[in-house]
């Protein structure tokens, strides 16, 4: 099978992290974001993956070469010379996606979930339509585009309602599709939107179905959601009894959902959790309190620091008795001084923070 991952641009919404690494390589749950998708696709029997990007950093090429070997898949870049929206890239990759009659997957690179791709492919085959959209239930549908089904059918889509004022349903597009190659004939090579142009056209012909995603789903394209997505992902791993998590029998683990890379070291009398990921070579000092946070590779958290709802970027240092909270994001190689307080500080790489950041702000 084949698949296309929509990566797009520079990932500005995830700055300051994406000033250092392209978004697909930023670690989510201690693995590059794109690996979650590549692994799910490989497990579903996909052998050809197209990465739709509008820039191609060297570092990505090198990383993906490694993944090709690891998962025994072929990964190709499809580079847009001008942004083509969400449908254009499919047309651009027509040679690969349309090389046979088998349907192909399309994944949004910001989306994290359980990726039940096999089930989705089986469902798609069973209904025989042109396309299938994975949908997820949300509490507040008014913020999204909502899917409305045909009255007499549980999965056939009738229409899309963008940001409905009145309740019409609570299922939204989860950014994961499986489409027949015939869909490519509906797309022109120009900037065009799959959601606004291609899908309504398939709906008109009654060929688009929805597939309910069970379990967690999150668009992790910005720091706040990245943290929420991490919580959902770790909870999912706990439910599965995953070996990737640190056992709750460890004395420092509090409330579970803690993932610690084996190369990280944890000091004495720490209290860690719930919902914490700690990357490779991280050093956590004595008496540190961590909750709902992500420590990326090589960070150093000194003694007695307190960190909550924060992403600590690679190789950053957090001082003794420092306190970080409220979606603070430290870029690469940031130093937060001893006893410093950061409330929603978004800190660009290589900065040193020597005074409190008392209200959410960007430290250039």
């Amino acid at each position: 099978m084949k698949a296309l991952i929509l990566v797009g641009g520079f990932g500005t919404r995830l700055r300051p992290l994406t000033l250092t690494l392209p978004k697909p390589l930023v670690e989510f749950g201690n693995r590059p974001m794109i690996l979650h998708q590549i692994e799910a696709l490989a497990n579903a029997g996909v052998t050809d993956i197209v990465l739709a990007v509008n820039y191609r950093p060297e570092i990505m090429t090198a990383a993906l070469k490694k993944y090709e070997k690891e998962y025994n898949v072929k990964i190709e870049f499809s580079v847009e010379t001008e942004p083509l929206g969400t449908a254009g890239p499919l047309k651009l990759a027509e040679k690969i996606l349309g090389k046979d009659d088998a349907p192909f997957f399309v994944l949004n690179s910001d989306v994290i979930c359980d990726f039940p791709l096999k089930e989705m492919a089986a469902f798609h085959k069973a209904h025989g339509g042109e396309g299938t959209i994975a949908v997820t239930k949300v509490e507040e549908p008014s913020k999204y585009g909502v899917i409305v089904h045909k009255p007499d059918h549980p999965s056939r889509i009738d229409r899309f309602v963008e940001k409905p004022i009145e309740f019409v349903g609570n299922r939204i597009n989860a950014g994961i599709y499986i489409l027949n190659p015939t869909v490519l004939n509906r797309i022109e090579l120009r900037p065009t939107s799959i959601e606004q142009e291609t899908f309504p056209a398939i709906v008109k012909d009654g060929g688009l179905h929805s597939f309910d995603l069970e379990g967690f789903w999150m668009d992790v394209g910005q720091p706040k959601d990245f943290l929420t997505g991490t919580c959902l992902y770790l909870s999912f791993l706990t439910k599965k009894g995953s070996k990737k998590l640190t056992p709750t029998s460890e004395p420092f683990v509090h409330g579970g959902n803690v993932m610690i890379d084996p190369t990280a070291t944890i000091g004495k009398n720490c209290k860690i959790g719930p919902n914490v990921t700690i990357g490779p070579n991280v050093v956590v000092g004595d008496g540190v309190r961590l909750q709902r946070c992500v420590l990326l590779a090589g960070t150093k958290v000194k003694e007695h620091a307190w960190i909550k709802s924060t992403i600590v970027g690679w190789n950053s240092t957090v001082g003794r008795w420092a306190r970080l909270e409220n979606v603070s994001v430290l870029g690469d190689d940031v130093t937060v001084g001893d006893e410093i307080y950061c409330n929603g500080a978004s800190v660009l790489p290589h900065k040193s923070i020597k005074a409190n950041v008392e209200a959410p702000s960007i430290i250039m």
Binding site: N269, K271, D286, G287, R289, E303, H304, W306, R320, W321, R323, E339, Y341, E358, A359
Partner: protein, 441 residues
């Protein structure tokens, strides 16, 4: 009214005799020291291991010729009983008496009311120390200037930034002779940045007649709002409404006497280059604590904790306090009796009062933790640092004036991991959620 039998100076051919008066005010004057003064009279509040009044008193004990000290105020007699008992025990050659005013008479009015006690034994001169100042009290230097100039009054002065000067009594002096040429209390415009420190040395033979003539003047005509500079003429006869001090019997040294003395050619100022702060608001106890600790450190006081990797001097730890060796304290920290400090705690620029418990990994910066309060694990209690020369204890954040020092009253508790910033918290409150820039009733 008793007639004054004023002795001649240098009487009986012996060495001149000197007494001292500490003015402590009363409970209704200490409102700005709330919430701490809700549980303890301000003069008894401890900074750097000693009560505020004790810092004044120990400066007085450094002058060997002083054998009699009066505390004048309108607190209940019982308030100073223990202090006087302890002071008398430690200094058996000094007589200490509390003289209670039954109504606020003003700083000069109080002195005059108790003139018989002060004049008994015919002292040549006496010091007057306001208990709400924190300074090095260079009394010996004041005496020297007094004698050198054959003065009738010496006032202690200090320089403050120009913009702060109008909040204080301003002194215009002759730089060479040190003579006071002019004195104005809290002027509207800039007059001088040399200000009144609230420490005086008076010749007994001139100060009481000055007070008496001020009282007579006040009986003859209404109180001036400020001394007649051209700017103030408009408000010449308008008493400030609602100000209870406007009663004629209230005679204050600052407003009513010093300006008159400036006309006297024998009024001099000793300008101190040492530290000086007022202790008005509760928050000002933190800089006062720092200054007295620094003074103790510079004089190599044995009372201070020994410096180490985790003790950044100066730090005072009461002998009955328990501090975990992994806790890092200082600079400018006072830890009171029976306080318990847990592992990995950080305390800087703070006063921790009696019986407080601070749990592990908590962080306390620029704060006062009230008696028997409890600070949770990983809690953070934090104020804002203010510049050393700053005399204000508030800061402006997002356009709102807030207390720079965080103050917890008696028996407050801060939950584990809770953050309290720039707050003043009245006694007996439980803080379970993060709070900032608030007064918590």
């Amino acid at each position: 009214m008793a007639t004054l039998q004023v002795p001649l100076r240098g009487h009986a051919g012996g060495a001149p005799t000197t007494k001292a008066v500490i003015l402590v005010g009363g409970p209704s004057r200490g409102t700005r020291f709330r919430p701490l003064s809700l549980d303890l009279p301000k003069p008894l509040f401890e900074v750097a291991g000693h009560s505020i009044i004790d810092h004044c008193f120990s400066a007085i004990t450094k002058i060997p010729e002083i054998q009699e000290v009066f505390i004048i105020g309108y607190y209940d007699e019982t308030v100073f009983r223990d202090f006087i008992k302890d002071a008398a025990r430690d200094h058996p050659h000094i007589t200490i008496k509390y003289l209670r005013e039954y109504q606020a008479l003003g700083t000069a009015g109080g002195l005059y009311h108790f003139r018989d006690a002060i004049l008994k034994g015919r002292p040549d001169r006496f010091f007057v120390l306001n208990a709400d100042v924190c300074c090095s009290f260079p009394l010996q230097s004041m005496l020297r200037l007094f004698e050198e100039k054959d003065a009738e009054a010496v006032i202690l002065g200090t320089r403050v930034p120009d913009e702060a000067a109008t909040n204080f009594g301003c002194i215009v002096s002759d730089a060479h002779s040190k003579r006071v040429l002019h004195y104005v209390e809290k002027p509207e415009s800039r007059i001088s940045n040399l200000i009144n420190c609230g420490v005086y040395l008076f010749a007994t033979e001139t100060i009481f007649p000055s007070i008496r003539s001020a009282m007579k003047r006040r009986a003859d005509r209404p109180r001036l709002v400020s001394y007649p500079s051209s700017d103030a003429l408009d408000s010449y006869h308008v008493p400030r409404s609602g100000d209870e001090e406007e009663k004629t019997e209230v005679i204050r040294l600052e407003q009513d006497i010093l300006s008159d003395l400036a006309d006297n050619r024998q009024f001099f100022v000793l300008e101190t280059k040492d530290f000086w702060r007022q202790i008005k608001t509760a928050g000002s106890a933190v800089p006062a604590n720092a200054l007295y600790l620094m003074k103790a450190w510079q004089s190599q006081s044995e009372e201070l904790a020994k410096p180490s990797a985790n003790i950044l001097p100066p730090v005072f730890i009461h002998p009955t306090a328990t501090v975990d060796p992994t806790a890092k304290l200082g600079p400018n920290v006072s830890i009171g009796p029976r306080v318990t400090i847990g592992a990995g705690v950080r305390i800087k620029e703070a006063i921790v009062l009696e019986d407080v418990e601070v749990r592990h990994d908590a962080c306390i910066l620029y704060s006062i933790i009230g008696w028997s309060s409890r600070i949770g694990a990983w809690a953070r209690v934090e104020g804002t640092p203010t510049p050393v020369r700053e005399h204000s204890t508030s800061v402006v954040k997002n356009g709102v004036k807030v207390q720079s020092i965080t103050i917890l009253g008696k028996e407050c508790s801060v939950g584990d991991e809770v953050r309290v910033q720039n707050c003043v918290c009245l006694p007996f409150k439980d803080l379970r959620r993060d709070v900032a820039n608030e007064v918590i009733m």
